[in-house]
């Protein structure tokens, strides 16, 4: 990586992007994270009560009696007393590691950089939230951030309800010893594994969720226009088989479930009509910004996040936005085509940023942090 060519300088930086669904980690300067694992920590408990483990401040992450597992076989194999928790909620401190310098940057800014823009509206639809964040000149405009809870997890919930309606049981693969092929729509016939250990509820739920997420990713599709019963009935069906052998053709449900993202008025399980659809989220966010930058924001709407990979998402979004924007406004949607780029765009942005020669002055060194404390983080990190 010669310095003069594109302004890069390799100092051996590490980039971490911690999301609510997965954690991405790797070296700066590379185009894809080396490690991508779910944001869950498996904790084995030696105690009897089996409640949430103790917090971990000050220590290297190892408490007496509890060991933490991240994305290892330990987590995927059924074990007794393995609780699953999310590090974001319970908080993990990393200051005890010997880090010479660090820098925090907002994911929206990094996503924008990864797509080659320093100004734009970043629409991030991930597992827990769909957010629209206006970025101007590399800085986030905090007063324009609009959040909506309709995202990947909401979809999973709806899929779960669909299976309940169809009276289909979700059986995670770890329980299945063997299965027989059955006719379409017929109840599954499978044999349970013998000698299964006593797994905790949270772990079982986690495994079921992976099955549902697989269904969600492969079957669901967003329709081009607002959901219409007749149009949906004519859509081609997709065949899907659950791990326990139950297989079925899904037609109208494929379109109905993701419709909740764009038009939450008809979606089940939502209290009242206060939720905003994705199109509304974008327009509200832009509407809260200064009028001079609105054309700039509409001219680069950056779509990121794993949930946007649902088939038809970007087309529908494009259609909705072109209807809602004033006719003189030039609308451009930027959505990278590969799954890697969309899921990891924040990480890639971080990798780009950390490898720039001109960035090296912006690190917060240990010494600065010791002197300044949290304020210096607020000042230096945009």
């Amino acid at each position: 990586m010669s310095g003069g060519v594109y302004g890069g300088d390799e100092v051996g930086a590490l980039v971490f992007d911690i999301g609510s669904y997965s954690v991405r980690a790797g070296y700066a300067g590379e185009d894809c994270p080396k490690a991508d694992f779910p944001t869950v920590i498996g904790v084995t408990l030696d105690r009897e009560d089996g409640t949430t483990p103790m917090e971990t401040d000050g220590e290297k992450g190892k408490q007496s009696g509890t060991t933490y597992y991240i994305d290892t076989n330990q987590l995927r194999v059924p074990r007794e007393n393995m609780e699953v928790m999310s590090p974001l909620k319970n908080g993990m401190s990393t200051w005890h590691y010997n880090i010479p310098a660090f820098f925090l940057c907002k994911t929206a800014v990094l996503s924008a950089f990864a797509n080659g823009r320093s100004t734009g509206l970043v629409l991030d639809s991930g597992a827990t939230h769909t957010t629209a964040i206006p970025v101007h000149d590399g800085y986030v405009l905090q007063q324009g951030i609009v959040k909506s809870p309709l995202a990947g997890d909401f979809m999973s919930m709806q899929c779960r309800e669909l299976f309940q309606e169809l009276s289909v049981e979700i059986v995670p693969p770890y329980m299945i010893a063997s299965k027989d092929s059955v006719r379409e729509g017929a109840p599954a016939s499978w044999k349970k594994k013998e000698k299964l250990p006593q797994v905790t509820r949270s772990w079982h739920n986690y495994m079921c969720n992976t099955v549902i997420q697989d269904f969600q990713a492969s079957v669901l599709q967003v329709s081009d226009s607002p959901y219409d019963e007749q149009v949906a009935a004519q859509m081609p069906t997709v065949h899907y088989e659950l791990p326990n052998g139950f297989n079925c053709d899904f037609g109208a449900e494929r379109l109905k479930i993701p419709e909740g993202l764009f038009d939450p008025s008809n979606a089940k399980g939502l209290s009242g009509n206060t939720m905003l659809g994705v199109g509304h989220v974008v327009t509200t966010s832009v509407g809260m910004c200064d009028i001079d930058i609105r054309p700039g924001l509409y001219g680069s709407v950056i779509v990121t996040g794993g949930n946007t990979l649902i088939q038809g998402f970007t087309d529908r979004l494009n259609r909705e936005l072109s209807q809602k924007t004033p006719p003189s406004m030039r609308l451009k949607l930027i959505a990278s085509n590969t799954t890697v780029e969309r899921r990891f765009s924040a990480w890639i942005g971080g990798s780009i940023l950390a490898s720039l020669g001109t960035f090296q002055q912006m690190w917060i060194s240990k010494q600065e942090y010791d002197e300044g404390g949290k304020q210096c983080v607020d000042r230096k990190c945009p």
Partner: protein
């Protein structure tokens, strides 16, 4: 055989890799002990290089990359290529000659960044040769110059009722942090502690202070340039933009509809004016030819050639037929001059023939000099008459139409507002009482345009017919 193969083998060894040579400590080919350069790898032809430097009109400054220079001073003014290529050879793909020189080692070395304030030491990979040199990216550390004022200066000059000192300090602190990006500053402004300020307020205060400071600090005698920020204009502009953006589709459609209507009205107006002009031309032509003829006849009767010269207004070509002047060398038939030019349409020819036969005139008279001339004139006048007749009947028809419409409107009562669009027939023709109509329905669009038919033209037809009679007998 084995010896030859051995020697060829050694030859091969010798030609590949300066490293090998280095290891075996053999004498190398070229003894440039200096660091490898691009030329050695790509092997650009030295002769060609000389040629290219000669043909350059401007000398490229030292150290500037060739591609950057090409962007500035390109002969063809083409757009610069997206991927600048490095081959100086043209279309041949150049093979990199690797291994011709010694390896340049890289080293993991510590460095300080002069742009940093704390002097932290980081490590990175760099060529061993460049150890000790400055960090090249430090020169990109540029910031915007935000003026700094002292306590005194504030008390003396910068005091303002709407702004406390703390707020002003906060504003300037944000300006420095965000390099005068006012939108970001406005976003990060502390609205809880201070009042809610708009972007224009912030800009106004900032530029105000800057202006005052430059004035105060300027060396006496010089007139410093101060940037004046017009906050009122900015506010109005933004309000206008808001209104523009929040137009409903109905409003947009209405605006477009109105613009279209305006265009239609304008085109119709142009058409009317054009028609009126044509008519006017026709009539003046008719009048002038009459005058001319009368003058000629008088002149010939009185045998005064002078009048003929003075009274000869330019007859526009649209009136009558212009017979081509025969300028042939040598002998030609006079009957050729009598031939109608091809530009005269079928209808006109038919009309001429009709009138001639009606009047009993021979369609093809004997082409004597006088007859030829008079016959041509006659036919020209006939065409003129025909055109005038047409125009006359058109105007009469329009008159009728408007009369009917006027009556209809009167019957319907003044409450009915007539539409501005009309089918095919445009409205012209000054009606005897246009003022009455105007006062009754103001929205009605009536153009008082169109040359009123002169009584001359009506009597003109009669004159012509009399002429014909005279001519025939």
């Amino acid at each position: 055989q084995t010896s030859t193969s051995k020697s060829s083998l050694t030859k091969k060894i010798m030609t590949t890799g300066a490293d090998v040579r280095d290891i075996l400590e053999l004498a190398g080919g070229d003894n440039d002990a200096g660091p490898i350069s691009k030329k050695d790898i790509i092997n650009s032809d030295k002769k060609k290089a000389k040629k290219s430097t000669e043909t350059l009109t401007f000398k490229r400054p030292e150290g500037m990359h060739r591609e950057v220079y090409a962007l500035l001073y390109s002969d063809k003014k083409d757009a610069p290529p997206l991927l600048p290529s490095d081959t100086t050879q043209g279309y041949r793909t150049v093979k990199a000659k690797l291994g011709c020189k010694k390896v340049r080692p890289w080293k993991w070395m510590p460095f300080t960044n002069p742009a940093r304030k704390d002097g932290a030491i980081f490590h990175h990979w760099r060529r061993a040769v460049e150890e000790g040199k400055d960090y090249p990216f430090a020169r990109f550390n540029k910031t915007v110059q935000v003026p700094v004022y002292s306590e005194q200066e504030y008390q003396m000059y910068l005091h303002d009722d709407g702004w406390t000192k703390a707020e002003t300090d906060h504003l300037f602190d944000l300006c420095k942090r965000f390099d005068l990006r006012f939108i970001v500053i406005h976003d990060r402004y502390d609205h809880q502690q201070y009042r809610k300020r708009s972007v224009e307020d912030l800009k106004e205060r900032y530029y105000n202070i800057c202006g005052k400071l430059t004035k105060v600090r300027a060396v006496s005698g010089t007139e410093p340039k101060i940037y004046i920020f017009d906050a009122g204009h900015e506010r109005r502009r933004k309000e206008q933009l808001e209104r523009l953006f929040s137009r409903t589709p109905e409003q947009v459609a209405e605006e477009e509809y109105l613009i279209q209507e305006l265009r239609k009205i304008e085109t119709r107006k142009k058409e009317r004016e054009k028609k009126a002009q044509d008519l006017q031309k026709l009539i003046t032509a008719a009048d002038s030819t009459t005058e001319m003829r009368r003058a000629e006849r008088k002149a010939t009767k009185k045998k005064l050639p002078q009048k003929r010269e003075t009274e000869k207004p330019a007859v526009p070509e649209t009136a009558g037929i212009k017979f081509p002047d025969f300028k042939s060398a040598g002998v030609s038939l006079r009957s050729q001059r009598m031939k109608l030019p091809s530009s005269v349409g079928q209808k006109k020819i038919k009309a001429i023939e009709q009138i001639l036969t009606e009047q009993g005139v021979d369609l093809n008279p004997m082409p004597t000099e006088e007859i030829v001339q008079m016959f041509n004139e006659l036919r020209s006048d006939l065409v003129l008459v025909y055109e005038l007749k047409q125009a006359h009947s058109n105007c009469e028809y329009e008159q009728q139409m408007l009369r009917h419409r006027y009556d209809a409107l009167l019957k319907a009562g003044g409450a009915v507002t007539p539409q501005s669009e009309s089918g095919g027939v445009p409205d012209s023709q000054a009606w005897p009482g246009p003022d009455d109509i105007k006062t009754e329905a103001k929205e009605q669009i009536i153009d008082v345009v169109g040359a009123p038919l002169t009584p001359n033209s009506v009597s003109r037809q009669n004159d012509l017919i009399i002429e014909l009679q005279v001519f025939a007998h």
